[in-house]
């Protein structure tokens, strides 16, 4: 159905593949993930091919993205955290490019699926826990014991802190997925109003003007959200990584 706002999120098998009873089909989600990686790689490789001392426009765009993420990471974790730069930058580029691909009409938005955002969030939290344990051994658990808390309520606080820590991948994934899902549904619903109203005749066409403007405005907003959510994911990742680097504050 044309006006079904959920239809755009359906997974379709493009090339059915089955190995040992497990479904490995190449779906539209896979296709757009491949496109995302290809897009991000093409942007960075092609734009830095010239390597001019005076950068071209494309090169300067690539340098700006690099500097932006490097600065974000450095501000939240210090120079020590720069070892995570490839990780954070890849996450940022993947989310940004996936979001932007999703802005094309009829395209599939990879980041509107919680499986994908969840996988990225779990990856982040595993890295935090893994690196934290490797670097600080048992000292990593200081993270859950705030200072200056009376001994009587300390067990409660520790449990709450642990729950709060465990809820991070959840909120990280929910935030990105909910933003993309809600934005795309809203856009589709408003755009659906335009066609539905316009098919009603002269008065309908007049009435369709308002949702048309709303659609245009929402499209602009969606571009903002696309970039913003990639940034939010990157900055939260670097803040969590900072916990792994410096658990005792």
């Amino acid at each position: 159905m044309a006006y079904d706002p959920i239809h755009q999120f359906q997974i379709q098998k493009l090339i059915p593949i089955e190995v040992g009873g497990v479904d490995f089909s190449f779906t539209n989600a896979s296709l757009f993930m491949v496109l995302t990686v290809a897009g991000a790689s093409a942007f960075l490789i092609l734009s830095t091919r010239g390597r001019g001392l005076v950068p071209s426009r494309w090169q300067s765009a690539a340098e700006l993205t690099y500097e932006f993420i490097a600065q974000t990471l450095r501000e939240s974790t210090g120079s020590d955290g720069m070892r995570f730069f490839p990780f954070v930058f890849s996450l940022f580029m993947f989310i940004l490019v996936a979001n932007l691909w999703g802005m094309f009409p009829y395209f599939f938005t990879v980041t509107s699926h919680i499986v994908i955002t969840g996988a990225m969030a779990v990856m982040v939290i595993l890295m935090v826990v893994g690196f934290g344990l490797w670097r600080h051994k048992f000292g990593f658990f200081q993270l859950f014991v705030p200072r200056g808390v009376p001994v009587v309520i300390l067990p409660f606080i520790v449990v709450i802190e642990i729950l709060s820590f465990l809820s991070r991948p959840l909120s990280l994934s929910i935030r990105l997925f909910a933003n993309m899902l809600a934005g795309h549904i809203t856009l589709k619903v408003f755009a659906g109003f335009v066609t539905a109203l316009a098919s009603l005749g002269a008065i309908g066409v007049l009435g369709a003007i308002l949702p048309l403007f709303a659609t245009v405005a929402l499209t602009a907003l969606e571009f903002l959200v696309a970039a913003l959510q990639a940034y939010v994911f990157a900055i939260l990742t670097s803040l969590y990584l900072n916990d792994a680097l410096h658990p005792s504050h």
Partner: protein, 121 residues
């Protein structure tokens, strides 16, 4: 633009030495910059964000705590057969964790351990 390429020719040796010296000078400058950057006080400046993004963020932080608490409690009940106590206790704890998350996101809890949105100090 003169430092773009070292010119080939008989003066390569001298150029190499000059280049090395310049590299060292640059290294020192960069080190100074790095040191300054690490002690920068501008870390507390929160980036400006539109209200809707902040709202989404607080909501996600809070909901995540509650959902995680409920899921953990339910799972424990299933495993240990303590229904409904695990759900009751962990839902409440999850609620507390959600509030903690949201307050940290909003920057209302500056001192204390770093949370989802705390800037290191």
């Amino acid at each position: 633009m003169d430092d773009r390429n070292a010119k080939p020719g008989p003066s390569v040796d001298r150029d190499d030495r000059e280049l090395a010296e310049r590299l060292h000078a640059l290294e020192r400058e960069l080190d100074k910059g790095r040191a300054a950057r690490d002690t920068e006080a501008s870390r507390d400046a929160a980036p400006a964000r539109p209200g809707m993004a902040l709202g989404f963020r607080l909501a996600a932080d809070f909901v995540a705590g509650v959902v995680l608490g409920a899921a953990l409690g339910w799972g424990l009940d299933r495993l240990l057969g303590t229904s409904p106590w695990g759900l009751v206790v962990f839902l409440l704890l999850g609620f507390a964790a959600g509030i903690l998350n949201a307050m940290r996101s909003a920057g209302l809890l500056k001192p204390g351990p770093p949370g989802p949105d705390d800037r290191p100090g």
